[in-house]
């Protein structure tokens, strides 16, 4: 098993901690893992991304230059990284903040209106976990149980009260996958207009 996951978005969207959660879950399941951020000065507004490698064999290079999975939390991320995905790879797109579709035909792309779904759940902050839930449900790279266990370790104690909400988000993402059944590459999924939150349940992944 080998997955190289690239998670990218605006600074502040929590892409780094989502990656850490994923890496930690991999470690919990006894895999070799590495997590590596693109880091920048403190100022907000730029893009942030991190690469997580999860593998049954020792990891030689921790760099994720050719991801097997891309999670694009906003439009610039999709534009910047779409082409780096390996042929046959998977792209998850946060359709709430993207407004465009992936152009490649040799990868599978899924569109999740994560911001709207998250706001519905009660906090836009869990948008990333909605997509993460979908991703692990689809790829099986780690088990939901491992993620749940890791949440406790990764979140600082004073944030443990957020765990139920995070689990809900993960489950909502997984639900999208479970409910869609067979997924077709390029997924003939439509995506909502900006702000058209009411459509979100109709689209899913």
């Amino acid at each position: 098993m080998f997955e190289a996951v690239l998670i990218a978005g605006f600074g502040g969207q929590g892409v780094l901690s989502t990656g850490q959660l994923l890496a930690h879950a991999g470690m919990t399941e006894g895999m070799n893992v590495s997590w590596i951020p693109s880091y920048g000065p403190e100022m907000r507004g730029g893009t942030a991304n991190c690469g997580v490698t999860i593998s049954t064999r020792p990891i030689s290079s921790p760099l994720v230059s050719e991801p097997t999975v891309l999670i694009a939390m906003n439009r610039p991320s999709l534009e910047k990284f779409e082409n780096s995905v390996v042929a046959g790879g998977i792209i998850f797109v946060n359709s709430s903040l993207t407004g465009i579709r992936a152009g490649r035909g040799d990868v599978r792309a899924f569109y999740v209106p994560a911001n709207e779904m998250a706001e519905e759940l009660g906090s836009v902050k869990v948008a990333n976990n909605i997509i993460l839930g979908a991703m692990i449900e689809l790829t099986g790279v780690v088990s939901p149980g491992a993620v749940e266990k890791s949440l406790k370790e990764v979140l600082p104690p004073h944030h443990h009260k957020m765990i139920p909400l995070n689990l809900k988000a993960l489950d909502a993402g997984a639900g999208l996958v479970r409910n869609r059944g067979a997924l077709s590459a390029g997924g003939g999924l439509n995506w909502p207009d900006r702000g058209a939150v009411s459509q979100r349940n109709g689209v899913g992944i």
């Binding site: 000065p41 403190e42 100022m43 907000r44 507004g45 730029g46």
Partner: protein
């Protein structure tokens, strides 16, 4: 000012201070002969916004760079823009001696009580008890000493012509800040010596506060320790 969006966080008062400097340059009609010397800190890209000729100085060394520039080009209007880490920590020697020599340039000193760019570490200006990434238990007087008051300290030097501390936390204070910045430039243009305007400023991101709460925190916590006012005026001006 070049028309490009600032890279600062939402509500960061660096942007306000930038505007004040730009307005002073415009109102004094000195754009063509202005030279900016930028720091290392969140405002490291300030040269992108000030559209005049500019230098990106090493961390803390803007006063030395400005000295080099001004000594070669004495008729230009030279200013440095520096954060509190830049000016009050690593750059202590340079600012003290530029002031002592009475170097004829203007220092815009943005004091936000923290090293913002590098992720919110304690600065010499951090308040007692303030939690930062390097004072996780709050700044303690026993370990780190008291916050350093640069305006007071530099005013004690014979070489300083004009030193004022202003704040960016409310419209009235911004208006006063604007006057101080302009006055500093004017004094420089008259060749009267070293001028510095310390602007109390916010860092919502590293303070962990909303932009608005940050302004309040500034008012309630910083101003009592860093009283506002003009600390020094040149004899020629008083």
């Amino acid at each position: 000012m070049k028309d490009m969006p600032f890279h600062y966080c939402p509500g960061c008062t660096h942007g306000i201070v930038h505007r004040l400097v730009a307005e002073a340059i415009d109102e004094l009609d000195i754009f063509g002969r202005s030279v900016a010397v930028g720091p290392v800190g969140c405002s490291v890209f300030c040269y992108d916004y000030f559209d005049c000729d500019a230098y990106q100085a090493a961390h803390g060394r803007a006063p030395a760079v400005a000295t080099g520039v001004k000594r070669v080009l004495p008729d230009r209007v030279v200013f440095t823009y520096q954060g509190d880490g830049d000016l009050a920590a690593i750059g202590t020697g340079e600012i003290v001696h530029a002031a002592a020599r009475g170097e004829n340039f203007t220092v815009i000193f943005v004091n936000n009580a923290i090293y913002a760019m590098t992720g919110g570490q304690m600065a010499p200006t951090t308040l007692l008890g303030q939690v930062t990434t390097t004072t996780p238990y709050g700044r303690s007087r026993e370990i780190n000493g008291c916050p350093v008051k640069m305006s007071e300290m530099l005013s004690a030097l014979d070489g300083t012509a004009y030193v004022a501390r202003v704040s960016a936390h409310s419209p009235a204070n911004v208006a006063k800040a604007k006057k101080a910045v302009k006055k500093a430039f004017e004094i420089q243009m008259r060749g009267l010596g070293f001028t510095m305007v310390e602007v109390l400023s916010t860092c919502p991101t590293n303070w962990g506060l909303s932009p608005l709460k940050a302004l309040q925190w500034l008012e309630e916590n910083m101003i009592p320790h860093y009283p506002l006012g003009e600390y020094k005026n040149p004899a020629e001006v008083v």
